[in-house]
Structure formats: structure tokens, C-alpha cells
């Protein structure tokens, strides 16, 4: 039992080390200068929208409506057409030949390795404790980091988002460091209030939602960076590596939409569990207050996206504020507010 717990601890530490290496190598990749002439090589799945029509060359008068050839860093903002996304950013990002992105490849491999170590570490921890491995803050953190990693890898399979790599890895390193140094507790059974299959459901979804929102918030931050660059017409090395703010916005939205549905489910399942355990489904306990606030912030985010004058940059701030509230809810509330949700050993 304890040996498994110990092994799990080693694996998590190894995972943190992998993420650290990934952070550095991804950062090296980002800091490489982009070749001055953008490569026109597009990734296959990105040939979307306008392309066939372009070939079809329908009425010449319409040609003007097609997205213009896109310069590096998208200084000329394309119109909002769906065609904007494929041609622009990822084109830049994938532009320089593969050789130049060896750092990114190393980053990806170590990242995958880290996620794998983490997964095995989580599983062993569960076996050691004889229950699901997400019952205290140390374990929540591991699950959230793993879900964020898996999400990043999942998106990466569909399109090139390696520009996110260094940021996700850095978050993972920080979170795991916090988990190992401050939050660590030995694997043990849980108190009666936590013995319920709702523990398995509610808490796992809550931790996953945290991982999902983390990726979305990271994307939103990059969106703001890129947006600034686009507005100034100059781009630093980082901004030059990023797709258009528009495209980052859509990516962030898609992730946040998933996160919001998960979070809605977290509130519902938490209420059912609270009803069973405490005899009331909602009691405005500090943890519940924060969870509610988070939900409202993300609802506001989704609204902002369809409100004239609030889409884009302002909506991105909502996505970031939402994630900050999540961090407060997980780390600050558990330590500094007295709450029914005080989990066993931290």
C-alpha cells in the first residue's frame, strides 16, 4: 500500500520534471525568430472555406470578397469570415520548416511523457488509498493538470497549437509544485461525509473543469497579446508565432463552452450531494458562493460574446477573470474561509 503511494509520489515528481523540460523547450521554440517570408505551406486540415471556391473562381466581381493573401502576423485584419482562420495564423506558425521546430518536437515528447507519468501516478495513488484518487486538494490538482494536458494534446491532434505548450507546461509545473510541497497528504480513506458515489462524479468533473478552464484562460491571454500586436501593427516574437486574435478567440470559446457545461454539471451534482449529505441543496457556504460566482462570470462571458461592443477583447477578460475565480475557489477558499467543504487533511 504505502509502497504504491511512494511510487505514485515519484511518478508525480517525474511528471513535474518532464513538464519543466517541456516548458523550457517550448519556450525555446517560441523564442526562435520566424523566417521573414511566411511559408505558404498549409496544413491539410486547414485548407478550408474559401479555398475550393477560389479554385472555382465564380463570378470575378466576387473575388474581392475572398480573404486577402495573409501577411505574417496578420497585420491586415481579415474580415470575420470563416476563411480567416485557416490561412492566417497557423500558416505562420507552421511556416518555418520542421527542422526549425525541433525544440517544439522535444517539448511535445516530454510533455506526453509527463502526462503519462502523471496518469500512472494518479492511478497508483487511487490503488494505494483504496478509493477514487480525487478526494483532497493534492489529488484535485493532479487531476486538473492531467485533464488540461490531455485537452491540449487532444486539440494538438486536430490542429497545431504548440504555441500553447510552454504556457500549459508552466501551469502544470506550478500546480504540481504547489501540490507536492504544500498540499501533499498521505493516501488514506475519506471521512463519512465524503463517502458517496457523488464524490466520484462531482469532484472529478469539478477538477476536470478546472483543467479545461485553465487551457481556455491561457488561450484568452494569448488572444489579448495578439490583439495588442494587431492593433499596434507590430508583433514581438511571441505574437508573431500566434494565430490571429480572432482564431484564438474562437478556440478559447470552444473550450470555455465545454468548461461551462461541465461547471453547470458541477453545480447540479454538488447540490444533489449536498442535499444527501447535509440536508440542503444550497446553503451559500463560501465554497458554494464562489462556485456560483464562477458560473455567473462564465455566463456573462458567453453573453459578452454576443453583445455588441463586448465581444473579443472584453470577453477574453471574462474568461480570465473566471479562471482566476476558480483558482480562488480551489486554493484560497479551502485555506482561508471556514467552510463545510473543508477536505480531509487540507
Amino acid at each position: 500500500m504505502t509502497e504504491l503511494g511512494q511510487l505514485s509520489l515519484y511518478l508525480v515528481t517525474a511528471a513535474m520534471t518532464c513538464y519543466l523540460i517541456a516548458t523550457v523547450t517550448f519556450a525555446i521554440d517560441l523564442s526562435r525568430r520566424v523566417a521573414s517570408a511566411p511559408s505558404r505551406v498549409r496544413e491539410p486540415q486547414l485548407v478550408a472555406a474559401g479555398a475550393p471556391a477560389e479554385a472555382a473562381g465564380s463570378a470575378t466581381a466576387d473575388a474581392a470578397a475572398l480573404p486577402p493573401a495573409t501577411p505574417v502576423n496578420g497585420a491586415a485584419r481579415t474580415n470575420a469570415g470563416g476563411a480567416a482562420e485557416p490561412a492566417t495564423g497557423s500558416g505562420d506558425a507552421a511556416g518555418p520548416t520542421q527542422v526549425r521546430r525541433r525544440a517544439a518536437a522535444i517539448g511535445m515528447s516530454t510533455f506526453v511523457l509527463g502526462a503519462l507519468f502523471l496518469l500512472i501516478g494518479i492511478v497508483l495513488r487511487g490503488i494505494a488509498a483504496g478509493r477514487v484518487p480525487w478526494a483532497n486538494m493534492y489529488e484535485f490538482t493532479m487531476v486538473a493538470v492531467f485533464v488540461a494536458s490531455a485537452l491540449f494534446l487532444g486539440i494538438q491532434r486536430r490542429r497545431d497549437v504548440r504555441y500553447l505548450g510552454t504556457f500549459i507546461s508552466l501551469l502544470a509545473v506550478l500546480a504540481l509544485f504547489l501540490a507536492l510541497t504544500v498540499l501533499y497528504t498521505d493516501p488514506a480513506a475519506v471521512q463519512p461525509a465524503l463517502q458517496s458515489y457523488w464524490l466520484a462524479i462531482h469532484v472529478s468533473i469539478a477538477s476536470s473543469a478546472m483543467g479545461v478552464f485553465a487551457v481556455a484562460a491561457t488561450t484568452s491571454v494569448l488572444q489579448l497579446v495578439k490583439d495588442r500586436a494587431e492593433h499596434r501593427g507590430t508583433a514581438g516574437r511571441l505574437a508573431a508565432k500566434l494565430p490571429t486574435a480572432d482564431s484564438l478567440e474562437r478556440l478559447s470559446y470552444r473550450i470555455n463552452a465545454v468548461g461551462f457545461v461541465l461547471w453547470t454539471f458541477v453545480l447540479i451534482s454538488g447540490s444533489i450531494w449536498a442535499e444527501h449529505a447535509w440536508g440542503r441543496f444550497w446553503g451559500w457556504d463560501p465554497k458554494e458562493v464562489w462556485s456560483f460566482v464562477i458560473w455567473v462570470v462564465y455566463a456573462a462571458y458567453l453573453h459578452a460574446r454576443s453583445t455588441r461592443g463586448w465581444e473579443g477583447r472584453r470577453a477574453a477578460w471574462f474568461s480570465i477573470i473566471g479562471f482566476v475565480s476558480i483558482l480562488v475557489n480551489y486554493y484560497v477558499v479551502n485555506f482561508f474561509f471556514s467552510s463545510l467543504h473543508s477536505y480531509s487533511g487540507v
Partner: protein, 596 residues
């Protein structure tokens, strides 16, 4: 900068809509924005005087002149206010306000949740507390300003969603809107020639468009299919919002008719469900006494299990026998996460502890007190528990108060400190201080049964002489174990520790709306998922012939919101149309749309 692609969705329509004459679906899709824009310009005039953040950003395109404003009567102003209230921007601001308004409850102690902390706050901040009180900050979620925010939000929601729902129903009844004349401004489009005949192409297009609702039109030899799917996306959005209203109404109704009571039941004792049986009871304003089903419940036994090494609690189980008014006694169990449903109410296991059964005889030997006294555990691992025994009915007139500890497995160390080393009652002992005098029970002031009001009492003490000759005055401690009878000091009488039953703290809660609350919550979840993940798509396929007599197909697709799969979807529809022998992707010389 335009972030949302559906801004474009409206554009081809805007060009064409005059010609189409049919209700314009894309404009409808974009209503949140386009409707808003229309409103914005229509309402820009009054926004200038009212310079709040919401309206100040409106584009002042249709600035009204001063006398136009002056001519606005109450009706216009009301209409204007309603429009503002139901606009997306105000909804957004109200949502933000709701988030901000909910936060103080996490920072200040709340009376319904933690009344003792509010009292403490008054002691710690005597100047600030009354101010906070005035603004309702000790009961945020029942405060008028919090209610104002969410009620406004829900009025806005209804005003916004109901017209949208009506609109959507109308959309469902009508065929999909006409296709625009030209597809050139759609980012997702295609065009090719094929050797199949026009009718074959139309037939296979119709098959491929199975999941869609299709409008077919034919003019001058050109067939146009206009197809739409994903009506559930909008329906989901409407369901989500209306379910939130249902949720609010259910919760509000529940808080009016609910009741909730707390009671302590000792092993072997029976609780009868009636208002007076509860140690504490609260109910909503519309609570009706007949919702208290008069069942009886006996606590047969209670078992607690603890982890061998850590001492942490592992399992609590209460075994009870429930007798409904018209029924046989039935056995049941209650666990921490498994409430018992009885008489329309849920019974929750909220606490447990030991209730030593004692007898106290006064100086004359008369029985002055007999009963099981619940002691409250102070330590989850050792169950060291505090409690008070109040002996009021003495024949001598001097009342006796005993307070102190119950130690389930008592150990007394060299310094005469007593403590418990296990939560199991392996070697229990009561360690009590003794007070005599007036318990203050007759003042009419309600007393906490777990606290001794020592104002009218004096503690029984004794002089001890240490080895070095110094004398100290110490309280007299009485230690008594099960089965023992021990003399109380100063000839006050005797105490007998008979046995050590356990007790449970039960919470009974009756709320007939729980089912509705859950249903609406799940409806909201389902609606939300639908509105975020179901694609709403339109596909247009036009089939005609070019000058050379070849069959020409042009097609375009349009989506509401972000839809990364749109292009793939168009290709899915078009692929079967290309398969005629000898057909190819050679661009047609002319699009049939423009020949038509």
C-alpha cells in the same frame, strides 16, 4: 474588429432580403446582435442624457433633437426602459452585478449559516458591525438589494426570451428561407460541373440533405434547394433560460412551504414527528401544520466505526424503527449520505455522540435527576465530549450543576490530566466539576442546555497542600465510571453513572419542490448543451446548366455561431453529386445562379 463569424452570416441576406420577401432566417439568427443594433440606433436618443455605462457606448447615429426628447411621454419612456432592460447589454451588466453582489456573502459571516460568527463579529468590530447589518451584509442572500438584482435579471430574461421563443415557433412553422441569389459572399461554398442530369443531382442532393428541412424552388430550369437544420440549438437556448426561471420559482416556492427541524434522539428512545418534539424548528411563511406527517421513529441502535490507525471516522449507521400513523413498524437505516425518506420528509443523520445515563440524588437521598444527557464531541478522533447536567429538582432547594467531560476511553496521566485515547467506549468515565446554588432556570430566559449559567452558582473547591507546603485552591473533580455511585462533595448528594447509550442528531426536512428543482436544473443543463454544441446550419444547393449544356452545381453553407465542421458538412452533401461519369471539378464557365 469583428470577432464573430456570424456577423457575416447576415450579410448575404441583407443584400438579398428585399428580393426574397420571406422572413429572413439569417437576420433572425443574428437577432441578438442585429436586433440590438436596430434597438441601439432607435434608442440612442435618450441614451445621451442618461449617461450610464450601458447606454453611453451606443452609437449616436440617430441622435434625437431636444424637442423630440421633450415630446417623449410616459409611454415612450416606459417602452424605452423596457427595451433597455431586455437588451443583451443590460442582461450582461446584470449578470456581472449578480456575481459582484453574491461575493460579500463569502467574506462576511452570514446569520442563517453561522449565527455564532456574526455574534463574534459584533464583539470584534463593534463599530463596523451595525453598519454592515444595515446594508444586509450579514444576510446577503435575503437582502433587498440582492433580490433586486436577481429579480431584474429574471424580468430581463423573460422579456428577452419569450419573444425569442415565439419567434422560434414561427420559424418552425415556415419553410426554410429562400436561398440568396449569389453565393459568392459565403466563405464556405463550392461549384463544379457534373455529367449527371439535373434531376439526378437534385435527387441525390435531397437524399444527402435528409436531416434538413428543405425548401425547393425552380425557376427557369434552375432548381434551388434551401435547407436548414439544428432548430434544437435555438430551442436549447430557450429551454435553458426558461428552465432557470422554473428553477427560481421552484426554489422560492420551496422556501415558502418548507419546514426543517432538528432533534436529538438517544438509543432506545422514540421521536414523534410534531412541532414541539423538535429542539429547533423553522418553517416557511406558507408552512401548513398538516405537512407534518405524525410518524414515530425509534432509534434502535447506532454504530460508529473508526479507522484503526488514524482514528478518523469511517462509518456511521443509525438503525431505526419507523411507524407511520396507519402502518406497521418498519426497520430502516440512516447513514451520512443516505437520508431516510419518511412522511414526505427526508431525515438526515447530522451528528452523533454519547449520552451518559445518570441519576443524581440530593442531600436527603431523594431522586433529583434521572436521564440520558447528550454530551457533544469536541474531538473527532477521541470523542472527548463536553456536557452539562442540570439538577434543578432538589428537595433541599440548593440546585446542582455538573459540567465537564465524557471520556470514552479514559486515561489519567501522572499530572492528573484526564483524556481519552479512543473514540470507542472501552473504559468510559465522566469527569465533572460541581457547582451549587441557583441554575437560573426560572428567569424565563431561554437557556442553552449545553452551557451552565454560572452567575448564581458557586463552584465546589478544595484546599490542597503540595509537598513543599504551599496551599492551593482547586475545583473538586468528580470522576465516575459506569455502574459506580460517587458522593458529590460538600454533602450535596450522590451521582450514579448507569450506562452509556449513544445519541444521534437528526435533521428532518420537508420540501415538496425538490423534484421540480432537480427537473429544471437538468432541463437547463440539457438545453445549454444543445445550445452550445448542436450546429445550426444552412445549406444551399443550386443546380442548372451552363452554355455547353453541362449540369452545373453551386452550393454554399452557413452556420450560426462557430462551426468548424461546416466545410466538411458541405462536402458531405456535395460528394454524392459529383459522382456522375466524366464529371469533374472543372470550374463551370458560369454559375447558374447568375444565368438565372
Amino acid at each position: 474588429m469583428r470577432y464573430r463569424p456570424e456577423g457575416l452570416a447576415g450579410e448575404p441576406e441583407v443584400e438579398e432580403s428585399g428580393e426574397d420577401g420571406t422572413p429572413d432566417g439569417a437576420a433572425r439568427d443574428g437577432e441578438a446582435r442585429d436586433g440590438e443594433a436596430a434597438r441601439a440606433s432607435a434608442t440612442a436618443a435618450p441614451s445621451a442624457p442618461a449617461s450610464n455605462t450601458a447606454t453611453a457606448t451606443l452609437t449616436p447615429t440617430a441622435t434625437a433633437t431636444g424637442d423630440q426628447l421633450a415630446r417623449w411621454g410616459a409611454r415612450e419612456w416606459l417602452r424605452w426602459m423596457w427595451r433597455q432592460l431586455t437588451s443583451m447589454r443590460v442582461a450582461l451588466l446584470l449578470l456581472l452585478l449578480l456575481a459582484v453582489a453574491a461575493l460579500p456573502g463569502a467574506f462576511f459571516p452570514q446569520r442563517p449559516q453561522t449565527p455564532e460568527k456574526v455574534a463574534q463579529y459584533y464583539l470584534d468590530h463593534p463599530d463596523l458591525a451595525p453598519v454592515l447589518e444595515r446594508f444586509g451584509l450579514f444576510d446577503v442572500y435575503a437582502s433587498p438589494w440582492f433580490a433586486a438584482v436577481y429579480l431584474l435579471l429574471f424580468v430581463s430574461l423573460v422579456g428577452c426570451i419569450v419573444p425569442r421563443a415565439i419567434d422560434h415557433v414561427r420559424t418552425l412553422r415556415e419553410p426554410p428561407p429562400r436561398a440568396p441569389r449569389r453565393f459568392s459572399r459565403f466563405p464556405v461554398r463550392d461549384a463544379f460541373v457534373t455529367t449527371s442530369t439535373r434531376d439526378d443531382v437534385v435527387a441525390s442532393a435531397t437524399t444527402a440533405l435528409k436531416p434538413y428541412r428543405v425548401r425547393r424552388e425552380e425557376a427557369r430550369g434552375v432548381v434551388t434547394l434551401s435547407a436548414e437544420r439544428g432548430y434544437l440549438r435555438e430551442a436549447g437556448n430557450i429551454t435553458f433560460h426558461l428552465a432557470l426561471v422554473g428553477l427560481l420559482v421552484s426554489v422560492a416556492y420551496g422556501s415558502l412551504v418548507h419546514y426543517r427541524g432538528q432533534v436529538i434522539v438517544v438509543e432506545g428512545e422514540t421521536f414523534a414527528n410534531s412541532r414541539i418534539a423538535y429542539d429547533s424548528f423553522d418553517a416557511g411563511t406558507w408552512f401548513a401544520a398538516d405537512s407534518l406527517d405524525p410518524f414515530r421513529m425509534q432509534l434502535d441502535s447506532f454504530t460508529a466505526e473508526f479507522d484503526e490507525t488514524t482514528g478518523a471516522a469511517k462509518d456511521f449507521t443509525a438503525s431505526v424503527t419507523v411507524t407511520e400513523p396507519d402502518g406497521e413498524p418498519t426497520a430502516a437505516t440512516i447513514k451520512v449520505n443516505h437520508p431516510l425518506r419518511v412522511g414526505g420528509a427526508n431525515v438526515y443523520l447530522m451528528g452523533n455522540g454519547f449520552a451518559p445515563r445518570v441519576q443524581v440524588r440530593d442531600a436527603s437521598g431523594a431522586l433529583a435527576f434521572s436521564g440520558a444527557v447528550p454530551f457533544i464531541p469536541q474531538n473527532d478522533a477521541t470523542y472527548e465530549s463536553r456536557g452539562v447536567i442540570k439538577v434543578a429538582d432538589t428537595t433541599t432547594g440548593t440546585q446542582i450543576g455538573l459540567n465537564g467531560w465524557l471520556l470514552p476511553t479514559a486515561v489519567v496521566d501522572a499530572d492528573a490530566n484526564a483524556f481519552s485515547i479512543s473514540p470507542y467506549p472501552d473504559d468510559p468515565a465522566l469527569v465533572l466539576d460541581v457547582w451549587s446554588g441557583d441554575l437560573g432556570l426560572d428567569d424565563g430566559v431561554p437557556q442553552n442546555v449545553y452551557q451552565l449559567d454560572t452567575d448564581g452558582l458557586t463552584q465546589v473547591t478544595q484546599q490542597t497542600t503540595a509537598d513543599d507546603g504551599t496551599e492551593t485552591t482547586e475545583p473538586v473533580r468528580v470522576v465516575v465510571r459506569p455502574g459506580e455511585t460517587v458522593d458529590l462533595p460538600d454533602g450535596l448528594g450522590t451521582i450514579t453513572f448507569e450506562d452509556l447509550p449513544r445519541y444521534v442528531g437528526l435533521d428532518l426536512r420537508y420540501d415538496p419542490t425538490l423534484g421540480f428543482v432537480l427537473t429544471f436544473a437538468l432541463l437547463a443543463l440539457g438545453g445549454l448543451a444543445g445550445s452550445l454544441f448542436l450546429p445550426r446550419r444552412r445549406v444551399f444547393v443550386r443546380v442548372g446548366a451552363d452554355d455547353a449544356g453541362r449540369t452545373v452545381v453551386t452550393a454554399a453553407a452557413l452556420a450560426r455561431g462557430d462551426d468548424p465542421g461546416l466545410d466538411r458538412e458541405l462536402q458531405r452533401v456535395l460528394t454524392p453529386l459529383r459522382s456522375g461519369p466524366g464529371s469533374g471539378d472543372a470550374p463551370p464557365t458560369q454559375s447558374p445562379g447568375s444565368t438565372a
